[in-house]
C-alpha cells in the first residue's frame, strides 16, 4: 500500500489562505487504509480549517467528498458537477491521485493535504513500515525477500559493504544492516550462493516517469486507438 502522512496544518493553512470555498477530497483506498486521507480525515481537516479561519476573522466554507480511488478517472467523475462551486481543492490522496485531480480540473488550484511517504506494510493500527522503493527491477528473489534498495543505506545490489557492524548499519546502530539480514535468511534457506553471485546493477536511468501497459492489454489499447 502507498503510505501517506497528513501535512502539518500550518502548511495546509498557508496554501489555502487566499481561498474562501475549499473542497477537500479524500481517497478511499491506500490513504484511507493508512488513516491519513479517508472520509474521517477529510472531516477533521475541514474542521481544523474552519476553526483557524474563524479565529483569523476570515471564515472559510468547506466541502468534503471521499471518492473510491483518485487514481482512476471514472471515480473522479462524481466530482465533475461539484468542483465548480469551489475556489480550490485539497486532495488527500497520494501524489498520483493529487495529480490526476489537477489534470482533470486544470482551471482550479489543487493542493496536497498529505505527504506521500512510501510503499509499505501495516504492522499495527496506525503503524507502517517502508518496504519498497518501486525501483522497477525487483531483486527480492536473490535477496531472500528483503529489499536492499529500501533497507540498505547505499541501496547495494551486492552487499554487504564494509560498514556492516554486528547486524547494524554504519550510519546508525538502530538501523539494521539489510545485507546482514539477507545473509541470515539465505543461510537458513541454504541459498548462500546467492551472495556470491553477482547481481547486475539496476538501470537507474529508468527514473523518468514510467508507463506500464500490462501484456494482455496492449492489443486493447491499439484496437481502441488509445494513446
Amino acid at each position: 500500500m502507498i503510505v501517506a502522512e497528513r501535512k502539518p496544518f500550518e502548511e495546509v493553512r498557508a496554501m489555502v489562505k487566499d481561498f474562501k470555498k475549499v473542497l477537500t477530497v479524500g481517497c478511499g483506498t491506500c490513504v484511507a487504509v493508512c488513516l491519513a486521507g479517508g472520509e474521517k480525515e477529510v472531516g477533521v481537516l475541514n474542521s481544523e480549517l474552519k476553526i483557524a479561519r474563524r479565529m483569523e476573522g476570515s471564515p472559510i466554507q468547506t466541502g468534503g467528498v471521499t471518492v473510491e480511488r483518485q487514481c482512476d478517472m471514472e471515480f473522479l467523475e462524481e466530482l465533475d458537477g461539484i468542483v465548480d462551486e469551489y475556489d480550490a481543492i485539497i486532495s488527500m490522496a497520494c501524489g498520483a491521485g493529487i495529480q490526476f485531480i489537477a489534470e482533470r480540473f486544470p482551471d482550479i488550484p489543487v493542493f496536497p493535504g498529505v505527504d506521500t511517504s512510501f510503499i509499505g506494510v501495516n504492522r499495527e493500527v496506525g503503524w507502517y513500515e517502508e518496504k519498497c522503493r518501486a525501483c522497477g527491477t525487483c531483486v527480492l528473489g536473490m535477496t531472500a525477500g528483503i529489499c536492499p534498495v529500501t533497507m540498505c543505506a547505499k541501496g547495494l545490489f551486492n552487499g554487504p559493504c564494509g560498514g556492516t557492524n554486528k547486524g547494524s548499519c554504519e550510519i546508525n546502530s538502530d538501523q539494521p544492516c539489510a545485507w546482514h539480514r539477507i545473509h541470515e535468511r539465505l543461510a537458513k534457506q541454504n541459498r548462500l550462493q546467492n551472495i556470491l553471485d553477482i547481481c547486475p546493477p539496476n538501470d537507474w536511468r529508468n527514473q523518468t516517469p514510467r508507463t506500464i501497459v500490462q501484456p494482455g492489454y496492449k492489443d486493447r489499447l491499439a484496437a481502441f486507438g488509445i494513446k
Binding site: 502539518p8 496544518f9 500550518e10 493553512r13 478511499g28 483506498t29 484511507a32 487504509v33 493508512c34 488513516l35 479517508g38 472520509e39 474521517k40 480525515e41 472531516g43 477533521v44 475541514n46 474542521s47 481544523e48 474552519k50 476553526i51 483557524a52 474563524r54 479565529m55 471521499t66 501495516n122 499495527e124 493500527v125
Partner: protein
Amino acid sequence: MTQQTQMETINLSTDVLVVGAGMTGVKAAAEIAASGYRVVLIDEGTGLGKEAGSSVADLDGEELATLDALVESVNGSEMIEVMTGTRIDGAAGVPGDFRVWLSGNDDIVEKSIGAIVVASELVACPLNEAYGLNLSDTVITQSQMEAALCENPAAFAGKSVAFMLGLAQDGNPLVLERVLKSVLAMENMDDASAYVFAGDLKVAEDGLERLYLECRDKGAMTVKLTEMPAIMQEDGTLSITYDDPVLQRKVELSPDIIVVEEAIGADQVNAALADMLKIDMGSMGFLQTENVHRYPVSTNREGIFVVGGSRRVKKRYGALMDAENAAIKVRNLLGDGTITIPANKAVLDIGKCTFCLTCYRCCPHGAIYWSADNKPVISKVACQGCGICASECPMDAIQIGDFNDADMIDQVTRSSTAKADGAPTIVAFCCQNSGLEAARMAELFGMPLPKGLKTVAVPCAGKVDIDYVMHALAEGADGVVIMACHNGNCKSEKGSLYASWRAANAQGMLEAIGIEKDRICFATTASNMGADFSGILMSMEETLTGK
C-alpha cells in the same frame, strides 16, 4: 428514539465447552448440563476431578465427598461428553457460533460450540528456595504435608512440626487455611506439636479467624516474625533461630519437620488459552482483568467465561460459586437456542468499507471477524455496541444503533451553535455508563452547572469520534468535555483509553492551529459522582470565560 428498533432473531449453537475438569470444571459442567445444554468437558489429564500434580489440593473430607458425588453425576450424565487427555488446539468464531478444535491422543475433532467456560485450576509452587531450604524427608512442602496427613497421620505422632509462611511471599487466606488445617490435624494427635512461623496471618475468609483460634487453643504456637529466621538444615538436623518478639531474645527451636509454604497462582496454560480465545489477561497470569464489569465470571468476550482458579485465588466455595454463575451466564446467553437483538446494533456498510482491518484490530470484544469471502462481519451477538470501531473507521463505514454519525453530527451542530446569554457553549460528550448519569444526578440535585452546557450522550467514551470533537469547535462551541469512565471501569475495557488518546490528538490539533488546548478536556468519572461532574464542568466554564 421515536422509531421502533428493528429486532433480529439469530440461531445459536447451544453446546458448551468446559476447558478443565478439576473440581470447578466438573461443577460447571454439571450445572450447565442441568440447565439443559449439552456439555463437552475436556481435560489434559487422565480423570475427572483430579488436579494435576502441582495443583492445589485444598479439599478436605466434606468437599471430597462433594467432589465424588459431582464426578459420579457427570459420568452418569447423557448430556456431558467427557474427553480426557484432550486439549483445545484452536478456536474461531463468535458466541453462539464458535468452532473449536480439540486434540486428543490420535486425532483432532472440530466442534460447533455456543459458549466456552475456562476452568483451569490453581497451581501451587513450593517456596523452599526462598527459605534457603532443600526439600528432603524432613523439609516438605505444604502439599506433601497434606498428602502425608491423609495417608498416614500416625507417622507424625510424637513429632514437632514447624510451618513457615508469609515470609517468602505476601500472605493469603487460602495459603493460611491450608496451613491451619494441617496444624489442627497435628494438634489433634497425641504428643504432636505444631509451630507456626509467620510473617503475617491473612484471615479474611469465612471461618479462618475461628480456625486460627482453635489451633491456638489446642496448643499450637504461633510466632510472628518481621524477618526471615536463621534456618539450618544439616545432616538431617533442623534448627530455627529467631528473635522472639515476646521474650525479646534469640530462641532456637529444633523441629523434626519443617513445612514450607507454597505460592498459589495461575496455571501457565492460561497465557496460551488467552491468546487462542482472544481474551484479555489480567495480572499474575489470571484470565480476568481487574474491571468491575467483568465480575463474577465474564471476560472481554461475550460467550467466554472464566471460573475458579482461572480468574483468581479463592477458596473452593468461591470457585464452585463461579461455576454456578457461569451456568447462569450461559443460560442468559444461549436461552432456547435463539437470541433476539436490535438489527442496527453495529451495521457495516460493505460498500464504504476499505478493508483496512482497523475495526477488527480495535474491537475489544473480539466481535469482528472475516467471512470466507474476505468480508468483515460484526457479530451482533458478540458486539457490545461501544462504538470504538465506528470511531476508528477511516471511512465512517460502521454505524452504531441509535448513535449513527448523521444524527450525532446533527446533534453536535445544534449543541455547538446554541448560545446562552453570552455564557460559553460547552459540548460535553458523556458516556452513558458514567458521565451521563453523573450529569443527571448533578442536575437533579441542583448542583451548579454551566449555563451553556449541552450534553451529548454516547454509548461509551470509545464512540467519541475525533471528528465530533473538532466539528463541535468548528461549529462554534467554546469548549468540549469528554466524560468517560475511570480507567479499569470501562465496560469495553479500552473505550476510555481510546477517548483519551483522541482528546490528546485533538488538543495537538488545536495547538497547531494556535488556540488553547484546554478548550478540550478529557475527564473520568463514575455514575454516582454528580458533584465531581459539576466541579469539572464549572471549572471548564471558568477556564473558557477567562478567554
